[in-house]
């Protein structure tokens, strides 16, 4: 039973990492209508930026993480503005953009390899004490991850519901043409969402790397399909769906480790992904949404 509660605790941690990543990915999809296959590498880049601040410059982890995520704005802006959006604007076969994101993934992952090398790295975080919170046994760092994700989810919620930007985002996500016609500056909002998505990816990458303790340039890519599972579960383009998806997938993945060898626990996410696509491609949330 203790094992079970522990796994739920871990599930919350995984869900937190997933939530940050999945919400970022799904918000960007809502604006642009294509999946960014380089997203895993965005996460990896965030992790390495954090690492540079933390290990090379000696900053404590959490400030390094936040600043690293902010710094993500630069590469994301460049990539979305000069590489991705020029393709998205063209009429013609839409499949080009998926390959372009795949090519961006190739370029980004190799840039990271060239700059930081392929060896496994760790953060400078000192001792990490386990803490008993109710029935759960989690470390301080893991609590930090959960806390960060919770704060971000609340912030996203407020952004979507209380700000003009948020309303514009929801409008564009619903119907881009209609939103443009009613005077919403779709281009500017899309750019802002790209940056937001990049920063969330940076946060997610940093905490993912923290949670696995040793990471290399592949850390984001191997997690990518789990993020896909969370995004698809909740319905692509739906941020609240992504949050629910992250929670469900995170818990399922960790609890499954009680029953199967933990090397395969992420693979469970694949089963969920496939299951959802077979049964309800619009995502589970579409059952709950209007009509």
């Amino acid at each position: 039973m203790e094992l079970f509660f522990n796994s739920i605790g871990f599930g919350l941690v995984t869900a937190s990492i997933l939530a940050l990543a999945a919400v970022g990915l799904t918000l960007q999809f809502g604006m642009t209508n294509y999946v960014n296959f380089a997203y895993g590498d965005f996460m990896t880049l965030g992790a390495y930026l954090t690492w540079t601040l933390n290990v090379r410059l000696g900053w404590p982890f959490w400030p390094a993480l936040l600043v690293g995520a902010l710094l993500m704005a630069i590469p994301v802006l460049l990539i979305s503005r000069f590489v991705l959006e020029p393709f998205a604007k063209r009429s013609g076969p839409t499949f080009h953009i998926l390959i372009v994101t795949f090519a961006v993934s190739l370029i980004l992952s190799n840039l990271i390899l060239a700059i930081w090398g392929g060896d496994f790295q760790n953060f400078n975080v000192g001792e990490d004490a386990p803490v008993n919170i109710g029935p759960f046994l989690l470390s301080i760092q893991q609590l930090g991850i959960i806390g960060l994700a919770a704060v971000c989810m609340v912030a996203i919620h407020l952004l979507l519901t209380r700000t003009k930007l948020g309303k514009a985002m929801r409008a564009i996500s619903d119907d881009k043409n209609l939103a443009a016609v009613t005077g919403i500056p779709t281009q500017r909002v899309t750019t802002i969402v790209w940056v937001l998505s990049g920063m969330l990816a940076g946060l997610a990458g940093g905490v993912l790397a923290l949670n696995v303790s040793s990471f290399d340039p592949n850390v984001g890519v191997t997690f990518l399909f789990v993020i896909f599972a969370a995004v698809v579960f909740g319905g692509i383009g739906r941020p609240y769906g992504a949050m629910v998806g992250a929670l469900v997938i995170g818990l399922v993945v960790e609890v499954s480790a009680v029953f199967i060898p933990s090397a395969y626990k992420l693979d469970v996410a694949f089963l969920v992904l496939v299951g959802v696509l077979l049964v309800r491609p619009d995502g589970i949330m579409s059952l709950l949404a209007r009509g």
Binding site: Y34, V35, F37, V83, P86, F87, G92, P93, F95, H96, L98, I99, V100, F102, A103, V104, S105, L106, I107, S109, N110, L111, L113, A114, G117, G118, V221, T222, L224, F225, F228, A229, V232, I236, A263, Y264, L266, D267, A269, F270, L273, V274, L277, L278, P281
Partner: protein
């Protein structure tokens, strides 16, 4: 020394022949049917691994483990590898190839690669884990008793024969009503269905054909190199095969062959000749991959059809004298 040069060129020739098989297969799956098989390299690995465990005897070295170990000869092991890749592709296709959007399909296929890769890397008993299969006997090695340095010259006709068959098949597909139905499905799946095409079945067939091609390429690779490990099939390998096809020209067999030449031989081998920096051994490879990625983006932006575009076929028409406007030579692009 001339022998070293011959050896090097012969090895290049083998790599080229095998890569053509890869691009020809992807050309059917992606070039003609429009399926983003982002897991493509996985099927090369399946073909390689199953061919390997078909030709290897059961492991008798402690620390090395693999399944099967059937100790069969060539070309049976190649056929087993191709069959395994095809079956694997069929199983995945049955689940994934449905009326779902292409980006969902791409996501599922990325997941397929990820999981296959992680399972084969961590499960030692399957295909010897991270170390991979080694010591795979080469075709006719024992019978011919050839000096290992000269073996490559034996392998060239083997690879060439396999490619010749697969090229002929791809060429027939390209010119056939089946190929035309694939292309229509690629252009607009709903409209193709509205005209009676069984689009799910067509796409599934195209995917499985591509997987078989990849399986053959994998089997040839492991037969030639005697080894296959997870390092050889990272996800970027799929991107590079896509790049080769896009640069060379998709939707036609000649573009696939040209792409193999340009990307696999010119770019990859070319950059391989650059001197390595001792402190940063990964820099050459990283630079090469960045170049390939940039090349794909540039090609997709300025000339998406590639160097050799999909041929605009004329049906049953003889070349009439230039005065007849309906016989204008096809413009490129």
């Amino acid at each position: 020394m001339p022998h070293d040069l011959n050896y090097y060129l012969a090895t290049l020739a083998v790599y080229f022949l095998i890569y053509c098989v890869l691009t020809l297969g992807l050309n059917i799956t992606f070039g003609m049917a429009g399926i983003f098989d982002f897991s493509y390299i996985t099927f090369m690995a399946i073909g390689a691994y199953f061919a390997g465990v078909a030709v290897l005897p059961p492991s008798n070295v402690p620390g090395l483990q693999w399944i099967l170990g059937l100790n069969l000869g060539f070309p049976i092991d190649l056929l087993i590898g191709a069959l395994a890749a095809g079956v694997f592709g069929l199983l995945i296709g049955l689940v994934a190839i449905r009326r779902i959007r292409s980006d969902y399909l791409a996501m599922v296929l990325v997941a397929v690669w990820t999981i296959t890769w992680s399972v084969t890397s961590t499960t030692i008993g399957l295909f010897n884990g991270q170390q991979g299969l080694i010591g795979v006997p080469q075709p006719f090695e024992a019978q011919l008793g050839v000096n290992p340095n000269d073996y490559v010259f034996v392998f060239i006709p083997i690879a060439a024969a396999a490619l010749a068959i697969l090229f002929a098949v791809a060429y027939c597909v390209e010119r056939s009503p089946f190929g035309r139905a694939l292309r229509a499905t690629r252009e607009d799946q709903d409209v193709a269905a509205a005209f009676g095409k069984r689009t799910v079945r067509l796409r599934l067939t195209a995917m499985v054909i591509g997987c078989v091609y990849a399986g053959v390429a994998g089997a040839l690779t492991i037969e030639f190199l005697s080894a296959m490990s997870p390092n050889a099939w990272a996800i970027i390998e799929t991107v590079i095969i896509f790049s080769a096809l896009i640069v060379g020209g998709r939707g036609n067999v000649f573009g696939a062959v040209l792409g193999a030449l340009l990307v696999r031989i010119l770019i990859i081998e070319g950059t391989g000749l650059l001197p390595t920096l001792p402190d940063h051994p990964e820099l050459i490879g990283a630079t090469r991959n960045i170049l390939i990625g940039l090349l794909v983006i540039v090609v997709l932006y300025f000339r998406p059809q590639g160097v050799i575009p999909e041929r605009r076929r004329r049906y049953f028409e003889s070349r009439k004298p230039a005065a007849d406007p309906s016989s204008e030579v096809t413009k490129g692009g």
